[in-house]
């Protein structure tokens, strides 16, 4: 039958069994240590007070504390807020000293440059494609780089904007080619018209953008000439008019923008064809049609005024007028 209560008494072992009431007397002269009981404790629990308490109850304080720790907000604070605060405090204390801050930033900068200056990232030369010699020099001038340079230090976007900002450049692409080459591909603007102003002679492209300045008109004798204030805003129209006036051949001297409003086509011998604001090409075609049939412009005409579409007007030269008067007088006198 099993015992009903679990005993907590220490188990006593003896190295030497005592036998009978006389044993104690017999062994009195033997070594005392052999007779001493050796305590074998059944675990360290026997020393703990809680192990003996039959009614474990939390103290009021521990109960409150546990409830407090089970509150969601507090729990989050302890699990997350406290470590964050501790780390922040440690970092803050470390960086409180100026020397340490500088040491850390110097260390970071060191690592940074050592990575950036690896040969894989270095750019050694700039190759420019699609630009003439003069433009290449200009580009090298506006993008001053002293090679070799790390590709981390190159601002390709900004370089492209600078190059595109040059007048003769229509568009440009800038990229870093493998092998450490800064490749600049340029599409140049082609001058199509010459614009004479008081300040000098400019070359314009088909959209009216300034391409270059030139010293003399003779350098670009093959390009048509326009003049007048605001003429560069209407280059497309001017080109249309020049195309239409092709049949006049080399009689065309140029186009003059009058009052920033309309064109005058200037021919040799001081002849002018004054074109209207609206639909100048159509008006010019009418003049050319009359010229075809009647050789209008071969005659002694100072100007053909097409400004009013319903009423084209011809101004004759002074000599022609006098001549006409004479003829008129003769006719008037006689028949």
């Amino acid at each position: 039958m099993r015992p009903l209560t679990a005993t907590r008494a220490p188990v006593i072992h003896r190295t030497k069994a005592l036998a009978g009431p006389d044993a104690e007397f017999d062994s009195a002269d033997t070594n005392d240590a052999d007779a001493q009981p050796i305590l074998r404790l059944s675990g360290a629990r026997i020393f703990k007070r809680t192990a003996r308490r039959s009614d474990p109850a939390p103290s009021r304080l521990s109960y409150r504390f546990q409830r407090w720790m089970l509150t969601p907000g507090i729990r989050l604070g302890v699990k997350l807020g406290l470590p964050i605060c501790a780390i922040a405090a440690a970092v803050g204390l470390y960086f409180a000293s100026e020397d340490r801050r500088e040491a850390v930033s110097a260390y970071i900068a060191d690592i940074r440059t050592s990575i950036q200056e690896r040969p894989e990232f270095m750019v050694n030369l700039m190759a420019i494609d699609g630009a003439g010699a003069g433009l290449s020099d200009d580009i090298r001038e506006v993008v001053p780089l002293d090679f070799p340079i790390s590709s981390w230090d190159l601002d390709v976007e900004q370089m492209r904007d600078t190059i595109t900002g040059l007048d003769p450049v229509k568009s440009a692409t800038v990229r870093i080619r493998p092998g450490g080459i800064l490749q600049v591909d340029v599409v140049e603007r082609q001058p199509v018209i010459v614009w004479r102003t008081r300040d000098g002679i400019d070359l314009l492209d088909e959209t009216g953008v300034h391409v270059d300045q030139t010293a003399s008109r003779k350098d670009h004798a093959d390009l048509p000439l326009i003049a007048g204030k605001g003429a560069d805003q209407h280059v497309a129209e001017a080109l249309e008019i020049f195309k239409t006036s092709h049949s006049l051949g080399d009689r065309v001297r140029g186009l003059v923008r009058v009052g920033e409003r309309r064109w005058d086509l200037v021919l040799d011998r001081g002849q002018r064809i004054m074109l209207p604001t609206e639909r100048p090409v159509r008006a010019l075609e009418r003049v050319l049609a009359v010229n075809e049939v009647q050789d209008l412009l071969e005659r002694d005409v100072a100007a053909v005024d097409m400004r009013l579409g319903q009423r084209p007007t011809i101004r004759m030269t002074k000599a022609a007028s006098e001549d006409w008067w004479n003829t008129k007088v003769t006719v008037g006198n006689g028949q």
Partner: protein, 445 residues
């Protein structure tokens, strides 16, 4: 005083609603031999499953037990607090362990206790309806019209449940709201207990930094969990044999109609053994649990039990007792308890009930052979009851000793309508003197 109680009960209901919103509530069964605490989490799922059947959980799926702890009760005798500090410590122990298991802080507690001389009263009232329709206000009015007996000073109403409504000549209505009729009558069951006992428990719980969200009688709640649905419907008595008390509750049509309490329980059996054999109470408890019984057979004479002791006296420490002797000690006390229960059932008129099912539950009902003995004393239809299954309840807490804790969980999840769930008609408030004056003028001039 009525209004005062009404207000405090309403405040507890309000607290229960708050706990529901938070989703966590603790259940505390303050018994004489053990204090058990369950932590419930309400997940808001419905009473019925998807296919609209009751299902294996008997429809109790609205909550889940996420923490459970039991501790030996201290300072509670006959289901009443006798040593406040000790009880508080025991509550703290159970609650801390349950909280730790649930890993969540609990602020609201629903408690039950068994003692404090519960006394049942049957009340009834009848009023003529103001309109044709029975509204909530009309129900409140008829409940308020009940003639409350003089239940004595120093006592408090613990439960006041409308059991039956009758509209004109139709009786047996569960819920008359929305129906049409001329006069509404109600039968109400009122349970009063000693006010001091309630105050002590409330104070213990307050001292543990908890809010009381409801309080119930353990006879009622163990009936809820130990009786199955048809027993509750057809009529049955639940006998909860606890440590210090044996509670009796009678159910009919799913309402408790009577509750009482015998101030004897398993602890008395233990103390009888302790005195009869001359052993400490802990040893006596152990002997009772492992070897106890109420029916002696021939083999029990030869079954010797080592009752031990640690006086150091060899003869004394090796005493034995035969199991027959032990049964001889236990049986008279158990018989006495059951006789006392019989008296209470007779006083309640249990023999006139249509169905006389008796369900024994509580820790004391685990005595071997008790059902046979109970059959002789109480009647033929006796069974041993275990609490209903609820979600997440640990296996160790599914025994009959936990039927009141489980019943209290069910009570927390789906409380029955009580008197204070309905609004008192405005004119009974003393706090509206002006309205009363106007009313008096209108009535008299």
């Amino acid at each position: 005083m009525m209004t005062d109680l009404y207000q405090s009960q309403r405040a507890m209901r309000q607290m229960r609603r708050q706990a529901m919103q938070r989703g966590v509530v603790a259940i505390l069964d303050v018994g004489s031999s053990k204090i058990s605490c369950l932590v419930l989490r309400f997940d808001g799922s419905g009473r019925l499953s998807e296919d609209n059947t009751i299902g294996s959980m008997a429809g109790q799926t609205g909550f889940r037990v996420i923490g459970a702890a039991t501790t030996r009760s201290r300072g509670v005798q006959f289901g009443e607090v006798t040593a406040m500090q000790e009880t508080e410590r025991a509550i703290r122990t159970a609650l801390q362990a349950a909280q730790k298991m649930a890993d969540i802080r609990v602020d609201h507690v629903i408690a039950c206790f068994s003692g404090a001389n519960p006394r049942s009263y049957g009340l009834d009232a009848q009023v003529d309806l103001e309109g044709q329709l029975v509204t909530e206000a009309e129900v409140g009015r008829v409940l308020n019209a009940c003639d409350v007996p003089d239940y004595g000073a120093g006592r408090e109403v613990l439960h006041a449940q409308p059991v039956n409504f009758a509209l004109d000549n139709r009786s047996g209505l569960i819920d008359p709201r929305g129906q049409l009729g001329q006069s509404l009558a109600v039968d109400m069951h009122m349970l009063t207990v000693d006010a001091v006992a309630i105050q002590n428990i409330v104070r213990c719980i307050k001292r543990c930094d908890l809010e009381l969200a409801g309080i119930a009688n353990s006879a009622y709640v163990s009936g809820i969990s130990a009786l199955v649905e048809d027993e509750q419907e057809l009529g049955a008595a639940c006998i909860d044999m606890g440590g210090g008390t044996t509670s009796v509750s009678i159910f009919m049509k799913k309402h408790m109609i009577y509750a009482d309490c015998v101030r004897m329980g398993g602890d008395h059996v233990t103390s009888d053994i302790s005195m009869g054999l001359g052993v400490p109470a802990a040893v006596a408890e152990r002997i009772k649990t492992f070897n106890g019984g109420v029916h002696a057979t021939g083999v029990d004479d030869r079954d010797m039990i080592d009752i031990g002791g640690d006086t150091g006296d060899w003869e004394h420490d090796r005493r034995t007792v035969s199991r027959a002797e032990l049964i001889g000690i236990m049986r008279p006390r158990v018989e006495e308890i059951l006789e006392e229960v019989r008296v209470r059932l007779d006083a309640a008129g249990f023999e006139h009930m249509p169905s006389q099912q008796i369900v024994l539950t509580g820790g004391g009902s685990q005595i071997m052979g008790l059902d046979g003995l109970a059959t002789r004393i109480l009647g033929q239809r006796v069974r041993l009851g275990r609490p209903l299954r609820v979600h997440g309840l640990p296996q160790s807490a599914t025994g009959p000793g936990f039927s009141s804790a489980v019943g209290l969980s069910l009570f927390a999840a789906h409380p029955q309508d009580e008197w204070w769930d309905f609004e008192i008609p405005v004119d009974t408030y003393a706090a509206r003197p002006f309205k009363r004056a106007v009313r008096w003028f209108r009535d008299n001039w």
